[in-house]
């Protein structure tokens, strides 16, 4: 993201706003379907994507990301930067200016006190705020006047755009949530279901996990928008049914996140009622290699740093595993247009994308075999390679999901071709991704040799994402298996790069550092990236103004949507 061009970007967005201008509410109702039903309209109480996106119809942040990952001012007038004086030279405070004249849907003015309150709400003790990471290191929020908000950080923040930016950290009304701080947060059901907002719509009826009815916000800042008078936001069912309701039966105008087999989707589109929109963000399906030994004989020291892995610590083995995979084929089978092969764990935004590892795109079974031969792993009588009594035999686990099981089957075949025995296992997602320290099946415990899942990061700045692979992030029994360094990779050089990024402000230098970290992980083959997974949604031919955004809520520009006759 180019901060210095943020202003230009904002100007451009305004200039290219859709020409079809109608007056507010003239286009009737728009029907949106999310096959995962929203549970609440308060994004601070739920981190779920479905909830964030539903809430983004009503609640707005100071700034958000556009479809290219550029930051655009939303409730703020401009994006503060060091150049325009909005961020102090020592990178410890940022000053936001609200647009003048903003009103909540109930007509009361939006002030800096509301912004400050949003921070207090999310960081209140006992509230269990799902977005508290966005407010990390914030020591104070000052409000010198009604429109000015100064956020002070305890440390230098080269990327000070965590608080109040993006769908995850919107501004909520102080008056409405004043009595809902901390442990009292869940008791304010009315406020959580019908928050006062500044967005283009306001909630009329919220039925949790079912349906939301919204109508145009009478006090929305642009008097001509939104074009739609009301929104019916239905939840539930499955992706196939959601796609069908837009593309085949035209009951709905917009369907979110259609993770369907490429041929199923193509078949639906052929009915001619709507089209597919897709975009790519940072979500990468990857295989993590366990650098520690998961053997059950090790008791409670299994999968901890005390017990290095018997053969995956050999880089030749890891490299061979990567070479044996045909990423193009995986994309073709599992994702179609919604995926593309990748060799980076940090695939975007463009300035962070490394080109140093693209060799992985070509499958090379013969070289993989040669590599293993050179490293002394020779095939035994059963075809499985071994060295000094250690057999290349893997347990490969992932969550239960049709595409993932297809991937497992294919990869198992390729790995067995190069002489690596592979046993497959899949675990229900609610257990696999659950943080229960008592369960042996969580992805953090990693009681397997390799495991596969997808991960990404919010917004466009990869600093905290790349910090996942710090030595101190390794999960262990001492940390109740919490920690983000799932593959137990530990390198002093890597830690040094992370530390350097935390104090580097210039964007180009940050990009270089992030790329260097990505390349380090890739060239040591501790993570095998497979597919850069895009977002696929569908809208009907009569719905205009849709701009798919993978960096923020998909409904980020719903104020600009209109009906095509």
């Amino acid at each position: 993201m180019k901060l210095r061009h943020a202003l230009l970007g904002a100007a451009a967005t305004l200039a290219f706003a859709p020409a079809a201008m109608a007056e507010r509410g003239s286009d009737g109702q728009v029907n949106i379907i999310y096959w995962q039903a929203p549970s609440t309209m308060n994004p601070y109480l739920s981190g779920g994507t479905k909830d964030l996106e539903a809430a983004s119809l009503v609640l707005e942040p100071l700034a958000r990301y556009d479809q290219d990952g550029n930051m655009v001012p939303w409730l703020a007038e401009t994006i503060p930067t060091v150049e325009n004086g909005g961020v102090t030279e020592d990178l410890t405070s940022i000053t936001w200016k609200l647009k003048p004249g903003l009103k909540w849907a109930d007509g009361s003015p939006v002030t800096s006190a509301d912004v400050k309150f949003s921070w207090e709400y999310c960081t209140a003790e006992g509230g269990g705020c799902a977005q508290s990471e966005k407010y990390n290191d914030v020591v104070d929020v000052e409000t010198p006047d009604e429109l000015t908000v100064i956020v002070r950080f305890g440390v230098a923040k080269p990327f000070p755009y965590g608080p109040f930016v993006g769908a995850q950290a919107p501004v909520i009304q102080a008056a409405q949530f004043a009595e809902c701080l901390g442990a009292k947060a869940p008791e304010c059901t009315d406020a959580n279901f019908k928050p006062q907002g500044t967005g283009p719509f306001t909630v009329v009826d919220f039925r949790p996990n079912d349906v939301i009815q919204l109508e145009a916000n009478p006090n929305y800042r642009d008097p001509e928008k939104p074009a739609f008078a009301s929104v019916l936001f239905k939840g539930g069912g499955d992706a196939t049914a959601a796609g069908r309701s837009v593309l085949e039966t035209s009951e709905f105008d917009y369907a979110w996140n259609l993770q369907l087999a490429p041929d199923v989707l193509a078949n639906m589109v052929s009915a001619g009622n709507g089209k597919i929109v897709s975009g790519f963000g940072t979500l990468v399906e990857r295989i993590l290699i366990n650098m520690t030994d998961p053997s059950p004989e090790l008791g409670d020291r299994r999968s901890t740093v005390d017990t290095p892995h018997p053969f995956l610590t050999d880089m030749a083995v890891r490299q061979a595993l990567s070479m044996a995979i045909d990423r193009e084929l995986l994309v073709e089978i599992g994702y179609g247009d919604a995926g593309r092969p990748t060799c980076n764990v940090l695939p975007a935004p463009e300035i962070y994308k490394s080109t140093a590892n693209d060799g992985c795109l070509v499958q090379d079974i013969e070289r993989a075999k040669a590599l293993l031969d050179e490293a002394g792993w020779v095939p035994g009588p059963d075809g499985v390679r071994a060295k000094d009594g250690v057999r290349l035999s893997l347990l490969y686990q992932t969550s239960t999901n049709a595409v993932r099981q297809d991937f497992q089957a294919l990869i198992k075949q390729w790995w067995e071709e190069i002489g690596v025995e592979t046993e497959l296992r899949n675990i229900d997602a609610s257990v696999f991704f659950g943080g229960d320290p008592g369960s042996p099946d969580t992805f953090q415990k990693f009681y397997a040799d390799v495991e596969m899942y997808a991960n990404n990061f919010d917004g466009t700045d990869p600093e905290s994402y790349m910090a996942n692979w710090l030595c101190k992030e390794i999960p262990s029994p001492e940390t109740q298996w919490q920690g983000n360094n799932i593959n137990r990779y530990c390198s002093e050089a890597y830690d040094a790069l992370v530390a350097e990024m935390a104090v580097t402000g210039a964007l180009e230098e940050r990009a270089e550092l992030a790329k260097a970290m990505n390349d380090m992980l890739m060239q040591e083959y501790v993570i095998l990236p497979l597919v850069d997974r895009g977002r696929v949604s569908a809208h009907s031919n009569t719905l205009g103004g849709v701009v798919l955004n993978t960096w923020d809520s998909e409904l980020w520009n719903v104020a600009d949507w209109y009906r095509i006759e």
Partner: protein
């Protein structure tokens, strides 16, 4: 009969308490996590805070006793308050809150009940209305073509899963023909004839799917029960007395055959309140069944526990109703 009913109700109390404990243990000890569905970009420390705010760090016994108190004391008080505008419940009487929506589970159930009763209830009634005549005729004309067709249809209805018939109907009637909506609109209100017709249209497919399934089961019971009675001596006596076939079958045989069928129907009523998990998902009816399955998937312990316990109460109650009905219908049966 009254003392019997009272005795049964009293026995039900320890039974239900035991059931609630079992449900609590099964639901709580199952390896699932309410934060498992959150995006991985939310760090583990934040997840730990969320779990703490949900009260997951409390000991098991404390959580169980709290839930019991909430269910049997706090919730009834709150519901009375809502119904009559009283203020019996004080602020510290925390209601049972769903972990997913952070709203009272009782409100969710009240919200979901109408569509479940409309769709599942109607399908049960229609199922029964279809099943009884089919069962009677099938038995009276045993091994006739009607009986063979009836047997085939009920076997098909019984063995073809609803997720297949449901999707099949959607593909035919929504996608191909465009007659009915594929997605149920829970916000639709019936105010006049036109809106009633809309309601009928959106109910036809889910009701048809469920009615087929219900009718298949009950018609088999009806047929079997009729067959048992048709060969009894009293039937021969009735015929020997010169009664018409109509009177013999529809008065003598049917009334006696209905006794077990009525109890079967009564025992099936709790499933109406339980909703239909699969059919509700297929047609997006979003009733009780969908509430339950979403809560299970999301590791929402309070919702799962409260719902399953309510089902348990209904099952125990309707068992009693079935027994009492049996006694009322059959003078030979006496409980006292």
């Amino acid at each position: 009969m009254l003392t019997y009913t009272i005795r049964r109700l009293l026995i039900a109390i320890p039974t239900l308490l035991f059931i609630s404990l079992i449900i609590f243990l099964v639901v709580t000890l199952a390896p699932s996590d309410p934060t498992a569905n959150l995006p991985l970009s939310i760090p583990s420390e934040v997840r730990a805070q969320i779990r703490e705010s949900l009260g997951l760090n409390e000991p098991l016994l404390v959580r169980y006793l709290l839930w019991l108190r909430q269910f049997f004391v706090y919730e009834p008080l709150h519901i009375l308050d809502q119904a009559f505008g009283w203020s019996l419940a004080t602020d510290d009487m925390q209601r049972i809150l769903s972990w997913q929506t952070r709203s009272p589970v009782a409100d969710l159930i009240v919200q979901r009940m109408p569509q479940t009763l409309w769709v599942v209830g109607t399908s049960y009634i229609i199922g029964v209305l279809i099943a009884l005549p089919i069962g009677i005729v099938s038995a009276y004309r045993q091994y006739s073509w009607f009986d063979q067709v009836g047997t085939f249809v009920s076997m098909a209805g019984f063995s073809v899963p609803t997720f297949f018939t449901g999707v099949l109907l959607i593909v035919i009637f929504s996608v191909q023909l465009g007659w009915f909506p594929s997605i149920y609109d829970t916000t639709h209100e019936v105010t006049d004839l036109a809106s009633f017709w809309v309601q009928v249209k959106q109910m036809i497919m889910p009701v048809a799917v469920l009615a087929l399934y219900n009718a298949a089961q009950i018609s088999r019971f009806m047929r079997a029960s009729m067959l048992d009675n048709l060969n009894q001596d009293y039937v021969r006596t009735a015929r020997a007395k010169g009664l018409s076939e109509q009177v013999v079958v529809l008065v003598h045989v049917l009334r006696n055959s209905m006794i077990p069928v009525v109890t079967v129907i009564a025992l099936g009523v709790p499933t109406v309140f339980g909703g239909a998990i699969i059919t509700e998902q297929v047609f997006k009816v979003n009733g009780i069944g969908q509430l339950l399955i979403i809560a299970i998937q999301g590791g929402d312990v309070p919702t799962v526990q409260t719902l399953t316990f309510i089902f348990a109460v209904l099952i125990v109650l309707f068992n009693l109703v079935a027994d009492v009905l049996y006694g009322l219908l059959d003078p030979r049966i006496r409980y006292d």
